[in-house]
Each structure stands twice: as C-alpha cells, then as structure tokens.
Subunit: 217 residues, 2 copies
DNA sequence: TTCCTGCTTTCTACATGTAACACTCTCCCT
DNA sequence: AGGGAGAGTGTTACATGTAGAAAGCAGGAA
C-alpha cells in the first residue's frame, strides 16, 4: 500500500478550503478569518493558518498587509496573464509529452476525450471538468516535474475565473475538436505538432475570452 | 514615507534564511530544524516555522513527510529542468519587455551591462550577481505580474546550483556579449528579436552546462 | 562482527495563550 | 445634524505548551 502520509490536519484543511474556493462556496473577495474557519472545521488555528498561507502561495488567496487574507478576485487582465503563461508552459509540456507519454497515459487521455465528446452538448460543468483533466494529463506526463507543478498551479488559479469563461456550446465543441487534434499529435509522437496544436488551442480560447469581454464590458 | 509593513518577524526570518541558503551558509541537504533556528535567531518557533514553509513554497527547501525540511539539493537534471522553464518564460518576458520597458529601465539595464563588462575579467562572483540583475530587470518589466513572479522564483531556485555552473572566463564573456545583443533588441523595441536573443542565450548556457557535466561526470 | 531491542533525545504537528492592532458602533459635544 | 472620542469586538502575529513519532545511541544476543 502507498504511504498515507496525508493524515495531516493541515493537508485536509488545505484541500477543503481549496475545494470550497474553487466550487465558489467561498466567493472571491471573502475574508478568510483563521479563527472563524478553525471553529467551523473543528480544529485549532495553527493548521488553518498554515493552510491559508499555502493557498496564498498557490495564488488562490491574497493577503493585504495586516488586514488578513481574502479569496483572490480575478479580473479580465489576470485571466489574460494566466493564458499567456499557460500557452507558453503547456505547449512546451505538450512537445515533451509527445515523446514521453506511456501507452497507458494515451489510453487515459483518450478516455477523457471520449467522455468529453459525450458530455459536450449542454453540460458546461462536466465539460470543464474533463477539460481540466485533459490538460492535467498532458502537463503531468511531460517529464519535467517543475514544469508540471507550475502548470498545475496556473490551471488551478484559472479556475477562479470561471464566471469570465466562454461557455457557448459551439465554443466548447471547438475546444473539443482541438483537443482531438492535440491527442492525435501526441499519439503519433509528433512533438512539434503537439506543441503547435496546444499553442493554437489555448491561443484561440484566450482570444475568445478577450473578445467576449471587449464587446460586452 | 512608504508603508514599513515589513516589521513582521516572519519576513525578516524568511529573508535571513534565504540569504543564508543562497550564500551557501546553509548547504544543500542541511536540515532546517525549527527549534534550532528559533534559538539561533532569538525568536519563537511560530515565525520560523512559517518562514521555512515559505521557502519550501519557493523551491529553496524540500520537506520529506514527517522528517522535517532540508535545503534543496539540485542535481544536473534539476538545473536542466530549470533552464528549460527559464527559456520558455524569459524569452516571452523579453518580447513583452521590448514593448513595455521605460527609458529609465533601459538606462538601468545599460548600467548593469556596463558594470558587467568591467567585472567580466576574472571575478565570476560579481559577474553572476550582475547576470541576475540583468535577467531580473527584463523579467520584472514585462508587464505580466505572474510571469515576473514565476521567473523570479526560477532564477532564485537556480542560484542553489551555483557549483554546477560554468565559470570559464571565455564563457562569461560570451554571456556578456549575448546580453548586449538582447539589450540592443530591447532598446530598438524589437520584441521578436529580443525573444530570440534571450532564447538563444539561455539555450546556449544550458547546453554548456550539459556539456560540462556529460564530459566530466 | 552484525543484528536486534529498548532507551533517550529531538523534532514535528497541533493546540492554546496573549499583546497589539483594526474595524464598528454608540454616544456625546458642537 | 454632523463629527469625533471611546468602548467593544474580532483579528493578526507571535509565543508557548505538549502528545506522539522518528532518529540516534547503547548494549546485549547470535
């Protein structure tokens, strides 16, 4: 059996807070009061304080000096910054993943895409979930552990901006097709093709977010 | 006067520990015992514990589950990972910096390069210091705050690998010339040229590190 | 010698105590 | 009515207490 070192309270609290933030239960701008959270979670303040600091390190929360920590509020500019970074990092990851992915990884990736193809019709929530899984698999199999870690951080931080995303069905379907193109390149072990496909995919999504908000400010 | 919010003990401790690590006073692999450090620094364990966790978040230390935290030990593979990321991020930063740098920034950059040109002869330590400043200025003026933050983290983490670096005078001189090329592109506001120059510069440095250690393992 | 066992020491992880500070609300003075 | 003092509340930041676990060491058996 694997090491179950996650019996640590701080890890549990961090995961719970992260889930609550990403699910929207803790809205952007909410103050994260350590004593209050400790009471609600039934633990002492120490692990809560640590967990909150870790979330700050992940970019999910921001601390203003002496006034405590609050859930990060992402503007359009932040999302564009994040996309720019994701384009750079994930296209690099895709290139390496094409050379280093195992067949098991490819099967998993195909599974995610098939599920996404089935869900793509109107269920934006499931679609986004599978989108995350797709990008996560590519990033985590690139062989560069630091690249994987930074990419995961960026992807998570971006989830805070869910309300700014474009959820039109045709747009989701287009994303799905682009995912298929990326997967094809990965399966053929064509690094440059995977890199380009990933860059174009994220670039197009970024552009659509930008258009969406420049026309309806 | 500006807000002197940095009277916080945790910030002071973090800076001291970081300096000690980067200066080599705390060698890679050293255990960071919270009670011991608290005694030495004359503060309680709480801020020390927080500071240590922050350093883990920065990649300067690693925690093995339940066995505490120790200063990160960078192998050749880690350095290559870091260079790959830096190439990706800093070349992107250079492109944007070309468009967004102020004239004041350019003057500062030129100043760093002139100092580097004067120091390049045999003083590898000063040279490296100015190398850091050069890359820092470019990254910090790119206009993308997250990109700047991630680039700064990578540059700092890489300082842990000082013993693996190549310090031959001809190599330093070559780096300096490449810096000049980058600066020229930035001054001419030529984004793509700055991007390419940065990518080639870091790529060459990375390659020289790789060669150095594949021939003398 | 090598291996096992039990003790000792130290640390981590969590809990709790507390001074100083920030915000809010009330009430009084002008 | 409007503005400001001041109490009251809640928080942060740091200090300290402590159970349990891990590492190191000693000593004895094979």
């Amino acid at each position: 059996m694997q090491p179950i070192a996650s019996a640590r309270v701080v890890d549990v609290v961090r995961d719970q807070l992260r889930s609550a933030i990403l699910a929207g239960d803790l809205a952007p701008g909410s103050r994260l009061s350590v004593p209050e959270l400790a009471r609600q979670l039934g633990v002492s303040r120490s692990p809560v304080r640590e967990a909150v600091l870790l979330l700050v390190g992940e970019g999910l929360a921001v601390e203003q000096s002496r006034r405590g920590v609050e859930v990060a509020r992402l503007e359009l500019g932040d999302v564009l910054e994040l996309y720019e970074l994701r384009i750079s990092l994930e296209s690099l990851a895709a290139r390496h993943a094409a050379e280093r992915m195992t067949n098991t990884d490819l099967v998993a990736l195909r599974g995610v895409l098939d599920a996404q193809g089935a869900a793509a019709v109107g269920d934006a929530r499931s679609f986004r979930e599978l989108d995350l899984r797709f990008h996560e698999i590519v990033s985590q199999t690139c062989g560069n552990t630091r690249l994987a870690r930074h990419a995961a951080l960026l992807a998570r931080e971006m989830r805070l901006a869910a309300p700014l995303m474009v959820n039109e069905p045709w747009h989701l379907r287009q994303s799905h097709e682009e995912h298929r193109t990326i997967e094809r390149a990965l399966r053929q072990r064509d690094g440059p093709a995977a890199e380009n496909a990933m860059r174009e995919h994220l670039g197009r999504v970024c552009q659509s977010v930008r258009n969406r908000h420049s026309t309806t400010p």
